[in-house]
Every structure is written in C-alpha cells, then in structure tokens.
Symmetry: D3
Subunit: 314 residues, 6 copies
C-alpha cells in the first residue's frame, strides 16, 4: 500500500485508509462538502469530498476502513486529498496494524526486557502480584502490549504503554543502583503498575480516546483499585506493604495539581515520580523535535515546555 508519509502533490491515490473523522460542512458560498481525516501508521491526511453526489459518500462512518480514489493537492503548505469516490473496505482487504501509529521499537523485545526486570523482584508477595499480571494473565498481557500511554502528547501509539512502562522501570533500576536506600522490590512493582489504569482510562485502538471511567475516575485511582483487588486475592499480603504500593501509584504525578491526591511520602514514591516525569517529558521533547523534521531553526512556542524550542547545533 501507499503510506501517507510517502504521498506527494499531484499524485492520484487508490488505496485503503482508516477514516479517523468525518463531518459535513458548507463553504462561504453555501456549497456543501465533507471534511474527512484519513490515517495510517505513518500519519494522517486531511481530505475533502467536494461533490455531494460523490460515489459512496453515504456508505462509511468514522473508524471504518475505506477504499478511496482521489487526487493529492496542496493547501496552505499541507497536503490534502480531493476524494472522488469512496467505499467501505471489506475485512481481509487490509491489515489493521498498518493503520495505527506504532512504537518504533519491537514490542516483543520490549516485553522481554520488562519481564527481565520484573524477574528481579524478590519479595514473595510483590512477586506473586506482578506475576499474576505480567506473566500469567494472557488477556492483560495482550491488552498491555497493544495499548497507548496517551490520547496524544507522549507515547500515543500502539505499544506506547509498554514502552513508557519499560523506560520508567529502567530509570528505577538505575535509581535503585545509585541510591541504595531505595527498596528495589517496591520500586519495581510500583513502576510496573503505575499506569496500568490507562488500560481502562483510554479505549483500545483504533479509537484510543478517553472512556467514561477515564473521565470520571482517571487512571491513577483505577490503577489503585485494580491492584487492590488483586492484593485481596493473595493470602497473607502484608497490610503495610499494600498501602505503600498503592501510595506509590497514587503519588506518582508528584503534585496535587497534577492529579495525585497525595504527595510522595516514601522515597520510592518520589523516585517513581521522577522516573515517570523524566520519561514523559523526554519523549514529549523528542516528539516535538521530530515534528519539526530537518528544521534546525526555532520551532515556535511549545505550551508544555513554556518556551520556544529548537534542535541543538552539534
């Protein structure tokens, strides 16, 4: 197939894409048309159906895979597809994995790295808890590997939750080596579970949007509930350890105004907060620089970093 990032002005397209968005609109002159956004794993493409009688215009909905025929044009410096006709694609005609943004790293390889870190946990209760998710729960493992870590911002792609969790665990491994007063078992367990609530906060791809529960409760509290329910099934799990683990998850955003109902009160909670924040911000910066392509000049004001940003000269 012809991936979106390879399209050039003037080309004629005849291929299948995921319809991420569609909405009826009217021009200044009163003419009806359709705004459409198409997506594959390499990016998104604005498209228009200018003719109200275009073939197939009434046959598809958002999140359908559609076969479109049209011409690539350019509008205000960005490419745009002028759709001539369209039809909903049949299952089997396409490979869903081609249409979703996906981690640059190999998902199974990352998961093996994660398992290797989890395998270092010695405490029998924490080991039993992490194994019950990351080693033996097939449904969880499948969902965890496929999920994103965000709707947009950082790690908003298939495998993003895994990649972020792995990065956080590796930072925690570094911290545990460097700051020996940290308890490695608690820190690793908290890191492994810190964002599992995102599996319920965001729907699976291709939708990848906030769920009702995500809006009402958020991934922090849902993560704590999920871990709490599992702990209750482990006989003899120490009460104090259970609260400490939940605290680390609750406090991992570091500040009340960032949605943590408690500030870090344990060293491991503080360390997890640093690991989470460091990886999230570094990845966000990486993505912001990447969106600038080869541009080595200033990229404009970035709201998250509250600064104009640019690539380094060397």
């Amino acid at each position: 197939m012809k991936f979106i990032e390879t399209l050039r002005e003037g080309e004629r397209v005849g291929d299948i894409y995921l319809c991420k968005f569609r909405q009826a609109a009217v021009t200044k002159n009163g003419k009806s048309y359709e705004n459409v956004i198409l997506q594959d794993k390499t990016g998104t493409l604005d498209a228009k159906i200018w003719e109200p009688n275009s073939q197939g215009i009434d046959d598809f909905e958002v999140l359908d895979y559609v076969y479109v025929v049209g011409d690539v044009t350019s509008f205000q410096g960005a490419l745009q597809l002028n759709i001539k006709r369209v039809r909903k694609a049949n299952e089997g005609e396409y490979e869903p994995a081609d249409f979703l943004p996906v981690s640059h790293r190999d998902i199974d390889e990352m998961y093996q790295e994660l398992l290797q870190l989890i395998g270092q946990i010695q405490d029998p209760y924490l080991k039993q808890l992490t194994d019950s998710y990351f080693v033996t729960n097939e449904n969880f493992i499948k969902a965890f590997k496929f999920h994103s870590a965000a709707k947009s911002v950082h790690h908003g792609f298939v495998g993003g939750l895994l990649e972020h969790t792995l990065n956080v665990m590796k930072l925690c491994e570094y911290y545990a080596n460097q700051y020996s007063f940290l308890n490695r078992d608690l820190l690793y367990t908290a890191a492994a579970f810190h964002d599992v609530g995102k599996i319920r906060e965001l729907s699976a791809f291709p939708e990848n949007d906030y769920t009702d529960d995500g809006q009402l409760l958020g991934h922090i509290v849902m993560g704590v509930e999920l871990v709490g329910a599992s702990i209750r099934r482990i006989p003899g799990f120490p009460k104090k350890l259970s609260s400490e683990l939940k605290h680390c998850i609750l406090a991992h955003h570091g500040e009340l105004e960032y949605g943590s109902p408690k500030k870090p009160a344990l060293a491991e909670a503080l360390a997890l907060n640093f690991a989470d924040n460091t990886d999230a911000k570094m990845e966000t910066f990486k993505e912001a620089l990447a969106s600038g392509g080869d541009n080595t000049d200033w990229l404009g004001y970035n709201r998250l970093f509250e600064s104009n940003i640019r690539k380094t000269s060397i």
Copy 2:
C-alpha cells in the same frame, strides 16, 4: 467529677483525667520536669510535674486515665496544673465518655435523622448499598456514630463524623428540592458515603490521630475503595452508576489542590462539594467564634479564613 472548663486559679484538684500527652523537659536552669496534657470532654489542661520525685511519676503513660492531685495556677493568661502526685486509675473508676469531646447534639437522634434521609433513596441498587452499611452493618454503625470528622479543625469530637454527614445530607436535601435537575438518589448516596473513609484515616478515640493508611492513601481514596468493594457484592449494580457514585466521592473536595484527583464533572458531584465545603467552613467559623468566649471584639487573624474575624454586633 470536676470538669476542666470549670476549674479556676487557686483551686486544689483531686480527680481523674485522660493523659493526652507527656514528655520530659529541662528548665533553663537545668532542672528536669514533665510536661503533661490532661483532657476531659470539656477541654484540655496543661500540667507540669516540677518535682522529679513526685509520687507516681513513673507509673503512667499517654492515653492512660490518671488520678492527679495538684494546684491550679495561671501562666501567661492560661490555666496550668501543678501536679503533686499521680496514679493510674483503675477501670471502673471512670466513665470513658466523660473524657472525650463530644457533639452537643444527641447522637441517636442524629442517626435517626440520617436514616430518615437514607430511607428516601428509591434506586434499588443505591438503596441496597446504603442499607448494607447504615442499616444492617452493626460494626460500621457503631464506629460511624463514635468517630470524629477531623483530628482538630471542625467536628473533631465523638459523633463529629455523624453530625457532619447529617448536615451535608440535609444541605443536599435542600439542593435536590431547589435544583430539580439534580438526581436525589445519587446525591444522597454520595453524601452518606463521602467521608466514610475517615473511619480508616483517623484512629478511634481517645487517640483520634492519623493512621498509617490515612497518611499514605487519605480518606477520599479509601472511601472509594470501600464503596467499590461493596458494589462488587451487589449483583447487577449498573457499571455507569458505580462510576458516577465513586466520582462524586473522589471529587468532593472540589479542587485538585485540595486532594480531589478529579474536578466535579457531574452536577451531583458539584452539589456535594458545595454541601461539604459549606458545612465544614460554617462549623469551623462557629468553633472559632466559640473559642473567643464572650469576646465581642476582634479575635485575631484566622489562618483558614485569611482574615481577622469577630462576632456580629446584633
């Protein structure tokens, strides 16, 4: 017995009090003595044991009931007890209820009012949930009636949690009457449970202090967990309703910086936030004015209200 609020300078005391605090200290001149705080339901009293050989000085600990003999003096405008001798009191010599601060209202009467409001809940799932706590769970009911709503600040007395919860429910009753778009059943249920986590956040009297879980998790999250666990035992409890109820509890502090991990997204969550805040602040203001006694002049800067405050002239 001679209650603390009735003591006057110059009296000799010989009676039983609860020892709330004791600590060894040394004067500027190097002389050892003991700082003690005694308590009964009418207040607390600073006391000193100046003589290191005072009889009984080594026989009691914090939270013991003690029989003390001593003289009431005055230091910097406040009363102080100069303890001559002391002994630990025996069970049966005292009535614990006399030694704890307690609501001015009758506890059973308040509980009946609460039940009357809970009885108005129509939705079968919410009714089953509230009944499982407030009607049929004897241990919970006993603990709930005895608990305070705070370590200090507002409603920090036996029955305080009940009194505050009742006041919040009555405000919610008013709101549901006045603002008819509110769902009465959800609002009443959320109000009934909004602070139940305090039973685990604060230890029971006479200690009434933050627990380990209280520090690590807080009453908001513990309340949600408790309600969540009970909902799981009610077959058919609607998923969406469960999340809405938990959301109301999570959001009842109204702002992230006040410890709610979510801002109110439902009208009932907003209403609960107003009810909780109104009753907490009005009670705090009442207690602040009461601590000024008959003083009708300015009472000094109050940190919570960020203002000097005084009684109204009419």
Copy 3:
C-alpha cells in the same frame, strides 16, 4: 410568531426579530456581505445578507426590531438565515417581551416569595432599609424585576437578578435555620442587596451590557454606595450595623482575586458568599447541561468548571 428554536433547515421565514448585531464583511473572493445576529426569547440565529442590493439593507441598526424574509440553511452543523429582504418593524407590530430571554419562573410569583422572606426581618433599621427599596420604591422594584444578573454566564435573562437574589435568600434562610449562630436579619438584608449594584453595572434589556460605571467601579462597590446613601437617610441607624452590612456586600465574592476587596470576617458574610457561589454555579451547570439538549454523552471541556462535563445516567 415563529420562534427561533422551532426553525428547521429549508424553511422560508417571514417574521419579526430583534437585531442583536450587524457588521459588514467581505468573502475570500472579495464580495461584500452583512453578518447579522437575530434574537428572540428562545435563542439567537446567525444570518447573512449576501446581496449588497437586498431590499432594506440600509434601513436598520443594531437593537432595532426588524421584519426579515429569508431561507433557513445549515452551515457547519448550525442553522443560518439567508436574508432576502428586511425592513425595520413599527412599534405595535411586536411585543418586546417576545424577543428577550426570560426566566422560566413567573416573575411576580418570585417577587412575592422574596417579599415574604424580607418580611421576616425584625430589626427595625434593617427592616426600614429593605422596605425602602423592595416595598415602597416603585422604580427600583420595576427595574429589579426586569434586570438580568449577568451579561452571559448565569441568570443572563429578564428576571435573572430577581431569580438569583431569591435563590440566594432561600439558601440563607436554610443556613439561618441550620446554623443558629447566624444573625437572620443581617443575613437576609445582605442577601437582598448583595447584587443590587448590577442594576447599574449592566444596562437594561435589550442591551444588557456593561455600563461605563460597571467597568470602572463594579457592582460590588456601587451596591455598597447605594446602600450607604440610603442608610444615611435613616435616623439612628447603628454605625456598627451599617459597616457590618456593607462588609457582607463587599465580601460576598469571597476572595480578593474574585473582586471582593475584603475577605469575609463575619459569619454572615461567609454564609452569603456560600449562598451566592452555590446558586451561581448550580445555575451555570444547569444552563451548560441544558445547552447540550438531549445529549447524554460528554459535552466537552467547560472552562468555568475546568472539566469535561456530562449529564448523570440515572
């Protein structure tokens, strides 16, 4: 007449509306046209006059009542009126009350409720003061009943100031019953007057916009000045009571950053702040939900509540 909320795409319209706004504009292609907003009591409607030679185009101004003929079309999901011809309507052709947003409640009925509450005031000075406005001052009463409580946001309709003031007084009645240390007379009087400055801060309908004084002084200070002037005409009005009443009005926004130059220092000022804030926010939430129509899904991010909001499921 055909009210705006009943119009449907494709209809031809020939009726009178209030012209709320008009401005000349030019299309991308350089063609002149007119942007117009029409209003009746059920809502507003975007309209365009595409033909520069349309009949009557030069005959009307903002805030005129106009008879328009045109076709209802749809642009980006909202209705739009394509005006063919227009003329200024003559007095007598229309009923002004049909063209302004108005309270859903009966205005005279609300006023009677307000009088009943004011009638409970016992203190002779406060009674004389409130009567001099709400009972005997015909001009004031007429203006008060017709005014809105806001330019937009909450209670921005005819009768809005009355409805909000009544709701605040009823909340204060509840508080006075529930928190017996509050002085009922002071609280009721302060509630009755708390927003009277809005009569000068906002011009009367149909304009309902900030006045010069409103921008320079604001309704809080103008309300205090107005009350102060009236108090000076009441012989023997106690000095302290006068200051307490003014303080309640000054402090009713609760925080300096919300425009109150003093924080509440009296219990009644605090109670009034809660009543005002509760009613304003509950009404705003109600209006926000109502604007979503039958939509039971999330309604999008609400800036005031700093949250995505939605209707409750039960």
Copy 4:
C-alpha cells in the same frame, strides 16, 4: 527628658514614657512578672517589672503616660528596662508630641508643598472638591496632618499620611510632565485623595491601630465613599468624571489580590498605582536599612522584599 534612643546599659532611668503595652506573665519557675513596652518619639523599649509588689504596679494602663524608675540592662543584645517603681503621670507633666514617632520633615512645610500642587488643579469641579477638603475643612486638615499612613511598615508615624501623600503627588507631577497624555487634574486629585480613607481605617495616635470600620471595609472603599459623598454636594459635577476619580482610588493598589476590586483601566489609575507603590516600597526599604544602623553587612531576610538586603558599598 532622656529619649529612648539615647539610653545605655547600666543607666538608672527616672522619666516619663508612654505605656504602649502591658501584660502579666509567669517565669518558667512560676514567678509572676509584668511585660511592659514603653515608647517615646525616638523608639520603643522593652521593660519588665519583676517584683509583684513593685510600687505603682496596679495604677496604670495601656496608653497611659507613666513616670518610671528603673535600671537599663541588656538581654540578648537588646536593651531592657528593669522597672523598680512606677506611677501614672499627670497632664501637664509631659508633652504628648514627645512620645509619638514623627516625620523627620516639618509638617507645615510639607503641607504647603501639598497645597502648591493642589493649587495647580484647573478643572473647576475637581478644584472645588479638593479645596473643600484640603483648603477649607479645618477638622480634616488637622486630622490629615497628624495621621500615620500605616500601623507599622512604612510611614507609620505622625505626619506619615501627609508625607506619603505629598511624595505620591510629586511623583504624579513628574509623571504628568514626562507622559503628556496623562490628565494632570484627574491625576493630582486622585493622588490627593488616594489614602484619605486611612483617617478612618486607623485610629489617631497614640493608638494608631485598625478601627472596626478599617477591618470591615478598608481605606480604599471608605475613601471612595467619602469622596462620593462630597461630590454629591457639588452641583453639576460631571457623572463620568466622578466615576473616573473613584476608579483611580479603587484601583490604586493595582491588583485584585492587593485589595483593589478593579484593575487600572485608565492611564491615570495606572500612574497613581505606580506612584503609590514606588513611594511605599522606597520608604519601606529606607526604614529597613535605617533599622540596621551602621551595619554595612547583610541585614537578614526581609519578608516584604523576599530577599536578604544590605546597604550599598559606595
């Protein structure tokens, strides 16, 4: 008389001072004594009456002028008076002006400068308004010249309100010369009246403390009321000009969180805010440096300036 700033350790004192404060206290060893603060125009002095039977100890109250006999000692680097005996002084024995902190500048001379600036006002209404206070109102003039501009902080001395007002007016004169778009008449009038509310916010010397009205209403609102009442007595005073003048007074603290209910919306309001803030802070800095005596080293953290401060080396 022997002024406080001239006292030295080891001296015996026998002179009259103003008693600014007295309170009973008890030593760690249980001995009663009296804490007293004495004042004259050169400063204040901590004093103690160690002997409960000291002659005259029961004969005086706060704000009495007292004749004291005692010895000057040193405690933790500061002088302290060990009072042996005391009696209330008779009127005629002392000159009140000797006992109050007073401006270093000549009060009448400053007032003449102020009048010269006020005399430049050309607008007939503003001229009539300012004359009615600063030229013809004997009581006001007397009070204005004697008042302080603060309880402590800056200009907290007799003549302080005059000195601050004069400095603000002179800064406004400079601004009006430098920024010609400013209206000189409005700016001068606003400057003259900006702090007149302090005459009611602070009681007169020797008390110089917040009044009940000062706490409830503040000098900004009281100043506006005062000016408003006077304007009503001037026939034909333009409505718009009246609001502009009041706005300048309301907005002169510059920020809502500093107690101005409106931000400056007119250039003159902004200029007045700068003049007020500049003079207040420069005077406060001057007083902070002066309190360090000849110390050229760092003077410690200053809370207002949020910095350690010191004198400049050249």
Copy 5:
C-alpha cells in the same frame, strides 16, 4: 512617497515599500495566491497577489524593498492592497529610514540628554565604564541609537532603546533627588546599562526579531556579561561595586517569574526596577490608547493590563 497611513480605499498605488512578510496560500476554492505584508515607517499593510502570473512575483524576498503597483480595497474593515505587479527596488531608489517605525522624538536630542545625565556620574570607575560605552565607542553608540527596545509591545521602533533608557534614567534622576539614601552614581550607571543586552537579544532593523542568543540567554544575562567584560579591562575597579552593578542589572525585572534570577537586594536595584517597569507600562498604555485613534469608548480587553481600557473623559 505615499505613506501607508495616508492610503484610502479605491486608490491606485505605485510606490516602494519594505516587504516584511510573504507566504504562498490557497483559497477555499483551490486557487493559489500570495499573502504579503508591506511596511513603511507609518505602519503596515496587508496585500494579496491574486494572479499567479503577476509580473515580478518571483523576483523578491522578505526584507526586500519592492516597487508595487496595485489597488487599495477594504476587507473586514481594514485596508488591503490588491497587487497587480511588483519589482525589487534598487538601492538609491529609496531612503531606508522611511520604511521603519521610528521614535517621535529626535534621536540626537535624546542622546544629548542621556549624555548630560551620564556626565553627572562622579565615581571614577563608574565614569570610566559608562564613558567607554556611551562616549567613546562609536560602534556601540550607533547601534544603541538605532535599536528598538522590543519586538513589539513597547518602544518597538528605531530609537526605542535610547528613548526607554533615557526615560528610565530621568526617573532615576527624580528618585535620586527624592530619596536621598540612593547612590546616584550606581543608580545612573545601572540605568544606562540595564537594557544594553537588547542590542544582542534583538537583531537590528528592519528585521528586529529575537536572535538565537536572545532566545537562549536573554538580554539580562547578556547585559551582565557585556558589562562584566568591560569592567575586567578597568584596572582597580572595586570588586564589590562590580557585583552591585551587575546585581542591579540582573534584578531589574523585579521578580523571578519575570526573568530576573535575583530579587532586588539593594535600594538602587529596587529603584531601577520601578523606573523600568513604570516607563515600560506607561509607554505600553500610551501605545494601546493611540491604537484606538479618536475612539473615546472602551477599547476592549487588554491582556497585559488584564482589563478593558479606555481614554479618560477630560
């Protein structure tokens, strides 16, 4: 030449302007055109080249001086130039000074005033330092006189840096006269140098935009580095004085959140902060009022002043 501020709708233009901006665009209907902004010292003008084959369209770039022929039209209330043909102008055809916004005051006259103030500096080291820039460094003087003080906001014109610096020095002269504890030499020197870093923070006209160094380091730190380098070349310059001068420059924004890494710790640093802030805000207010032309009504919400603003009525 025909200055931009004199153009009227319907005129044909044939004259030279500075091209401040150009960018290709596409209409809703898919037609290519060019967006251009032209500038002379009286303002800027939006222009369009609708015909892709217009003569000269490929011959010019941003910051070229271009001769354009076209018609003045009106779009949404603002003038627009419809360019018919264009060519790059030759050097000698135009006078660069005609195309840049420039101070209303005479630059050489202002510089003489500045020199007169600098001439008052007595301290030999500070005198040597200021002379080495403002008296003997021809390149610096030329750049300083030509530079703006901002990209937009206040003093964003040729001579703006000089005008602002002079105004700040004159305010400092006033302060030094009025507050005699200020050291005049340090204050004048700090004022003279406080914004010299802007010569490196903003590129010279006609670009007048943030440089790479400006973004990375800012004018405050670059100013300190520049002064520091010069001080090292003056034998015997007192170490303490050097740090005090640098401190004044570092702290002149007054608050950490405004980019000063230190709060004012010296009286001169505080005074400089007031002078800088006063002149910047007064000039900004002046420019905001000026942009409203003869409009005496409210000019709309101003983000910097956080208020709707308007001209004063008298």
Copy 6:
C-alpha cells in the same frame, strides 16, 4: 579524639572541637551566660558556659578550634555540654579534616569517576574547555573537591559539590544512553559545569556560608560568567555551541521561579534539569530519613516535600 556522635549523658569531656557559633545571652532571671555550638565531622553539639568567670571565656572566637572541659547533660531530649573551662587550641594539636562534615564516599575515587566521564567528551572545543578546569587547573581541582554543594539542605559537606556533580553526570550518562537524540558531549559538559558557580556562591569550609557575590549574583550567573571567560580563551570555539552550553547552565533550575532566567529550550538543558533535580531531591530525602535514625514511624511534616514522610516498611 572523642567524636560528638559518641558522647553520652553524664560523661566528662576534655577535647578539641571547632567553635561554629558563640553568643552572649541572659537567663529569665537576669544571669549572663554564653551560647556556644561545637562541631566535628560527626555532628554539632549545643554548649553553654553558665559561669561568667569561667576560665578562657574571653580567649576564643567563632571558627576557632578550642579545647573544652565540661560535662554532658541532657535538655529537652538533646545532649548539651556544660562547659567548665576552655582555651584556644594551637595549630598542630588538631587535624582540621576531623572537624568538618564530609562525604561518606572517598573523594579521590569520586574524582576519578568524574574524570572518566569527562574523558568521553569528543568535541574538541568542549574537551579543551573541560580539560582546562578538571584536568589541568590544580587550584580549581583542589577547591572543587573540597567544596560543599549547599549551606545546609543537600550535600552540605566537604566533597558535596563533587559528589553531586558526579551523580548528575552519571544520570546524564544514563539519559544519553537511553534517549539517543541527546548530544552526549554538550550534556556532559553542561553537567560538569552546572554548579561550579557554587565555588564562589559559598565560602570554603569551615565557614561554608553565602558570600556577598553569592547573594548578589547567585551561582547560576557566576557559573555562566566563569565558563564564558574560559571560552573566550579558546580560539575558534563555535559561537552557537557557546550559547547552547551557557543556556544549559542558565536553565538548569528548570523554572523561572527557581532562579533560572530561562526555561529549558534544548533537550540537553531539559535533561540536565532532571538530573540536577533528581539527585538533589533524592539526596535530601535520604538525609531527612537518616536524621530520623532508626525511627520507622512518621518523621513529621517536611517542608520541602510538603508531606509527612517515613521509612518504607520492607
């Protein structure tokens, strides 16, 4: 010698300590005495000289090494030394290193680790710059190894600046490995120099207090000046690289309100900010837990972490 951490109540002491503080004081009863703080590398000890005629009392000053004879007592739970006599110790009687708090790690070993990391820098200019400090400048190396990183808080001991710098560099090494878009050379160089300004901000041990320059300029700006001066001595050092390096140092506190005049605009500046913050906070937490000794209970409210903190249970 007998180190302070080994002293027990009741012991007689006769040994040399560093006098960190002394001040005359007076008891409540008017008796003069001396407050003294003694220090060795294991901690500090409060001491008193109660007898004004104690031998040697007039012979020593702050920062002298003194031989004291006295008895160890206990006051309010802490040890106190009752000094009987004292004399200034002679050089040679003591080993200064015994009297200062010192890193637990071997200083030379840490320095070798630092050199190994610096040795990885490839860019010739950055290599030349770092070598000119860390490899060839003997005076700098000696001062750098001996300095603390703070007056108190974290790393406030001999070797603290080295230990913190090494930890930050190791974190940066980890980041550079993990986030490959970071430029390792720039990041390492910035990390090596980020706190060198502390050598001038804090005086050397035993004083270890803020210098005049530290107060006026701060270590961030002084570090930039120092690096800037060295860069000027390296021919051909790229201008852009110089600004990027300075930017990383300027921005390493991450927020304007923490004293950085610029927010991070480059990825390396952001990474350095995370490394600095992570190590500072983790070390502070470690020191806070260590100060609690074996206490496994809550340690009380910690102002920096805005939470009560405690050791983890496993």
